[in-house]
């Protein structure tokens, strides 16, 4: 699903609400049967393992390699060393970065960096993947490469929420489109276009 709307319409706020970085001033947010507003603070980490996030600026750790950046998400969520190795390799293969596993982020292209970030978001096998302007920093060719990868992720069963300003992508893919304006949903179409 695509989330569209002008700057300041509330796309990023929606994303932050979904990972409980922010709490709504009113209303309810339910993910996988859990009410995020009533959720205890100690439960938040476990919610975030179900909701992966990818950003425009990648947010990779510069002093860690591709494989280490991906494995990091498993290490700090207390996985067994063997599971860390296996899941990291599986996810690197999924994003087609196995051959770049020992490189540092500064040695990668923008597309490769974003694929690393996607791998890190997916390695915990989340139910939902949120991508906030995932192609904002990328050239058109690389943008398509990333979008194709995201579609593959969706086909493998992960719910995908992509916030974007890229009309070309939205119009080409004809997915569900949610249009936000001043914090409210003004349009929700099953096979929508960027503009009504």
């Amino acid at each position: 699903m695509f989330i569209v709307g002008s700057s300041g319409a509330g796309k990023s706020t929606l994303n932050r609400l979904l990972i409980r970085e922010e709490l709504p001033s009113s209303g309810r947010i339910v993910i996988d049967g859990q009410d995020l507003v009533r959720m205890k603070r100690s439960q938040v980490p476990f919610l975030r393992r179900k909701v992966g996030v990818v950003f425009q600026d990648f947010k990779l750790l510069p002093n860690k390699t591709v494989a280490e950046n991906v494995a990091f998400a498993l290490i700090v969520t207390d996985h067994q060393p063997r599971a860390i190795r296996e899941e990291t390799e599986r996810t690197l293969a999924l994003v087609n970065l196995t051959h770049r596993r020992s490189h540092f982020p500064r040695e990668l292209s923008g597309g490769e960096q974003q694929r690393t970030a996607i791998a890190r978001a997916l390695v915990n096998r989340p139910r939902i993947l949120i991508a906030d302007e995932p192609t904002g920093n990328l050239d058109p060719v690389t943008t398509w490469e990333i979008i194709k990868l995201l579609i593959r992720v969706q086909e493998l069963g992960t719910t995908l929420l992509v916030s974007t300003h890229n009309a070309e992508i939205v119009n080409a893919l004809r997915q569900r489109v949610l249009h936000l304006d001043h914090g409210a949903i003004v349009r929700d179409e099953r096979e929508g276009l960027y503009a009504a």
Partner: protein, 296 residues
């Protein structure tokens, strides 16, 4: 185990990420702990010195040669009834002379020439159980002078008084100084950890995003604070161990009459106390720092 391993290694990496800062705060903590330990040892030593001096506190009454034995016995009984008095010993002229001869024999610079007559008086040596009572008891006994039994009195309350004053000032002042030092140490740790948190804010953000629990976000910093404290304690205790022998020898040589030894048992307790204090302040300071900078 795996989790603890990760936390310790992350803390260790954090410690060396900014080595100048870490070493500087470790040394600051070490100096604070060193002052703390020296203070505790000095206090303990002075207390021991007071104890030794207290056991030596005496008031000596010189008796008139013409005093009647019954009056002397009566006075002795009255003194013995005072609760502050531990014992009263009668020393006759002859015993006094024997003592003087004995002293003269050991110290050749004192030559006794004419010992045919004995100029020394009979005396009562009053031993006190509690040094703080010296002033009162000697005041009371001073009133006996001139009543036909006692003609003079010798006491040494000023030394004890001064020593008691020193220990009291040291205890009160020491607690104040210790309090300030605790704050300084705490702030050094808080600042160190704050900088460590700042240096790793990207890592912290990512940890939170991928669903790390508080354990994984906070504990490396708390352990890093404890590391700073513990390393500071090791440096401080190492410094004490290195200089303790020579310094205490010098002190014993200097003070001569005060064979003050702190004992191995006390030193073990001191080391444990310093280390425990360091871990507590290190962990506590880091917790405070993490609490204010990793809120949410």
């Amino acid at each position: 185990m795996r989790r603890a391993g990760y936390i310790v290694s992350a803390a260790w990496q954090g410690f060396w990420r900014n080595p100048v800062m870490s070493v500087a705060s470790t040394l600051t903590v070490a100096v604070m702990l060193l002052l703390f330990a020296v203070f505790v040892m000095t206090d303990r030593g002075l207390q021991a010195a007071v104890g030794i001096l207290e056991s030596k506190v005496e008031v000596v009454l010189y008796l008139d040669d013409t005093a009647k034995p019954s009056d002397v016995l009566e006075l002795r009984r009255r003194i013995e009834n005072d609760p502050a008095v531990e014992s009263v010993v009668y020393v006759s002229k002859d015993e006094a002379l024997d003592r003087l001869k004995e002293i003269a024999r050991r110290r050749p610079e004192l030559a006794l020439e004419d010992v045919s007559t004995n100029p020394l008086p009979n005396s009562l040596e009053v031993k006190l159980g509690n040094a703080q009572e010296t002033r009162r008891v000697s005041g009371m006994l001073r009133e006996e002078i001139g009543k036909g039994v006692v003609y003079d009195l010798v006491d040494n309350p000023t030394v004890v008084d001064k020593l008691l004053t020193i220990t009291r000032v040291l205890s009160v002042g020491g607690i104040a100084v210790l309090g300030m030092m605790l704050f300084v140490t705490l702030f050094v740790i808080i600042n160190t950890i704050r900088i460590a948190v700042h240096a790793r804010r990207d890592e912290i953000e990512i940890k939170k995003l991928v669903g790390a629990t508080d354990w994984f976000v906070r504990w490396p910093f708390i352990v890093e604070g404890m590391m700073v404290g513990a390393l500071g304690a090791v440096v401080a205790l190492g410094a004490i161990a290195a200089v303790a022998g020579p310094v205490s020898n010098a002190l014993i040589g200097f003070l001569d009459i005060l064979p003050v030894s702190l004992g191995a048992n006390f030193m073990v307790q001191l080391a444990a106390g310093v280390l425990g204090f360091a871990l507590l302040v290190g962990g506590g300071g880091a917790t405070l720092s993490v609490r204010t900078h990793l809120a949410r």
